[in-house]
């Protein structure tokens, strides 16, 4: 299968007055054509920074990509000059941002903003661009797109704004779509529509999708592969079915067990003790050890490598995965 995105050992650090914040610290993932990778984890684990690194939109200073390789459809993008990177955005990769309320410019009409995306990245003229913009607004389920084109963001509901963002990201037909919490701010009914839309458009164009979310239900519904992040690292990855049926890492287990839907009524919900560590001061050894019920002495000293435990299934845990590849690729 054709690999659209390959991230190898990505390190994105933020250099602040208080020290170095390691937002992404050695992440490797890959997505094939026509596949969806679900990137899961709690706030601050580095999911969004990973997506921003792919788009090379890390605010600098204070942020900087300090190591690793990102390959998009065979092109290594981290060494490209900014001017060429502008071409990559919109041609090879596009992004749906998390906040529909603040990601649209309030002083331009919807039409202008969608058309800008088309005209910046292609040679298409004004009238053709207008047609494309309208076509995609209709595709994402915005009623009366002709009228909506001349409206401003404040005249649209949250769900509509999110759909406009999606239209902007999709109208360029890029090989990779980064969707950063595309449905987090929305109601389940609108969420269902948007997830369906992403799937339909994917079936049409074969794009690869990096779906970032903290909602395990969305992942279960959408993803082919799953990578679980904790404290700037991937702690477990594998096919969706495998992760949901036979997870290995104690953190993944904790995430699943703390969901209210999986616990019987009247029973206490499982909780992961403690707090997420600050990116400025990760604990030594396994970053999860202070909160882990299984932690042994080794966990406090050595960092566990992400090792293969079954076909396509990797896990970074001394206790559960042992630290040695048990399966040859």
């Amino acid at each position: 299968m054709e690999e659209i995105l390959k991230i190898e050992n990505l390190k994105t650090y933020f250099f602040t007055g208080e020290g170095v914040g390691k937002a992404v610290d050695g992440v490797s993932v890959a997505i094939e054509k026509n596949k969806i990778l679900g990137l899961v984890g709690e706030s601050g684990c580095g999911k969004s920074v990973t997506a921003l690194s792919i788009m090379r939109l890390i605010p600098s200073p204070p942020g900087r990509i300090v190591g690793g390789k990102i390959t998009l459809s065979g092109t290594e993008i981290l060494s490209l000059p900014e001017i060429e990177m502008r071409d990559i955005r919109g041609k090879l990769a596009s992004m749906i941002f998390q906040e529909p309320m603040t990601s649209l410019n309030p002083v331009f009409t919807i039409g202008t903003q969608v058309m800008e995306a088309v005209r910046t990245h292609t040679e298409i003229g004004q009238s053709k661009a207008r047609e494309i913009a309208m076509e995609y607004l209709a595709k994402v389920g915005i009623p009366a797109p002709r009228e909506r084109m001349s409206q401003y963001p404040y005249q649209l509901s949250g769900g509509m704004k999110q759909r406009v963002m999606i239209a902007m990201a999709l109208c360029l037909k890029t090989a990779l779509l980064n969707a950063d919490e595309p449905t987090t701010a929305l109601d389940v009914t609108i969420q269902a529509g948007i997830l369906r839309l992403i799937k339909d458009l994917q079936a049409e164009s074969g794009m690869a999708v990096l779906l970032i979310t903290h909602d395990l239900g969305v992942v279960a519904e959408m993803a082919d592969e799953v990578a679980v992040m904790y404290a700037a690292k991937v702690v477990e990855s594998g096919p969706c079915e495998t992760i949901f049926s036979s997870f290995c890492h104690p953190y993944t287990e904790g995430l699943f067990k703390s969901l209210p839907g999986r616990t019987e009524r009247g029973h206490k919900l499982y909780t992961i003790a403690g707090l997420v560590p600050s990116a400025l001061r990760f604990p030594p050894g396994c970053r999860f050890h202070p909160r882990c019920p299984l932690a042994i002495e080794k966990c406090r000293i050595d960092e566990p490598p992400l090792v293969r435990i079954a076909a396509g299934h990797r896990c970074a845990c001394w206790v559960r995965a042992g630290g040695i590849d048990r399966y040859d690729a």
Binding site: G158, A192, R196, L275
Partner: protein, 316 residues
């Protein structure tokens, strides 16, 4: 009966033009009736804009309802003046959704939690604040710190301590966990359940996350554009939702099982505007089972079984 809400209405005037003339009303809640028993948790669910938060605000008198009656422990409280209502502020409290916006950043935790306890005098107040912080899983030493020093989950604990300070018997929880991460969400839900049984509280739990409501509530009320569409015990509602809206709502929730993936079925169209709701059933324009009678007159709230009521012509 702890709390009874009868035919509650809250209309917000829409003012237009130079003279700010009232051009119409946003009917945020348009005739809501429900009741909560002592020690019970009632879940109130619905999409954003359906009026669920407005219901909560009317109960704690952050809003004065346009019409309808609210009865608390057999006393009518909706007609009381602000002074007369003061007595009830001690018994009815609220926990807000946004743990970042609902705490004053310039007040210390001790001032926030102890604001309602000024009458106790400095020494007693300090002691009580310390106790409250321990109750919600923080420590006494946190009292002198400011909100920005805490994480989202800890802030929500501060909000809960503030609500408990005056010793209420009824708590409105307005989306108390929707801004939190899964593992933190579980901690707060456990805390609320524990406090409920320890302090024998009655809860109105407002949420859009159905799995949370399913876990915590004894009974659930489903709202759509200012009206109650269905009410049932939690088991009954999740086992057999009757209203087409409830069914559509449930089928839009992603299942937590990769292997049993099914097609998501989004509800077509958008909800009607609460300024000018259509006659008849408010869900008619999007309903897959719509009939001719749906668009005429008021739809009755009918009792289908002992614990199950629904507002839909299919069950007449």
């Amino acid at each position: 009966m702890m709390l009874e809400v009868k035919d509650l209405k809250m209309y917000f005037p829409v003012r237009r033009g130079l003279l700010r003339r009232t051009a119409g009303y946003v009917k945020a809640i348009d005739g809501i009736t429900f009741s909560i028993d002592r020690g019970e948790t009632l879940g109130l669910v619905g999409e954003s804009g359906c009026g669920k938060t407005t219901v909560g605000k009317c109960i704690v008198r952050l809003l004065r309802p346009t019409a309808g009656r609210i009865t608390f422990e057999d006393n009518e409280i909706s007609g009381l003046s602000q002074m007369e209502f003061k007595e009830y502020r001690k018994r009815i409290q609220i926990v807000f959704q946004d743990p970042f916006g609902s705490l004053n950043p310039r007040m210390t935790v001790s001032d926030i939690v102890g604001e309602g306890l000024t009458i106790m005098g400095e020494r007693l107040r300090e002691k009580r604040v310390g106790e409250l912080l321990e109750t919600v899983g923080l420590s006494e030493s946190d009292a002198s710190r400011y909100p920005h020093e805490f994480s989202g989950g800890q802030r929500q604990r501060i909000g809960i301590a503030r609500a408990l300070a005056v010793g209420p018997s009824f708590l409105v929880c307005d989306e108390p966990v929707s801004a939190l991460d899964v593992s933190i969400q579980a901690q707060i839900i456990n805390l609320l359940e524990e406090l409920q049984s320890r302090l024998s509280l009655s809860l109105l739990f407002i949420a859009h996350d159905l799995s949370v409501v399913r876990h915590i509530a004894n009974r659930v009320v489903v709202m759509y554009v200012g009206k109650v569409m269905e009410e049932a015990s939690t088991e009954e509602l999740f086992a057999s939702p009757l209203h087409p809206y409830t069914q559509a709502l449930f089928s839009s929730i992603p299942s937590l099982d990769c292997a049993k993936r099914r097609e998501l079925n989004p509800i077509p169209g958008e909800p009607p505007s609460p300024t000018d709701p259509p006659p008849g059933c408010r869900f008619a324009s999007r309903c897959p089972k719509v009939t001719a009678t749906c668009r005429e007159g008021d739809i009755e709230f009918v009792e289908v079984s002992k614990n199950h009521r629904v507002r839909c012509v299919l069950y007449y």
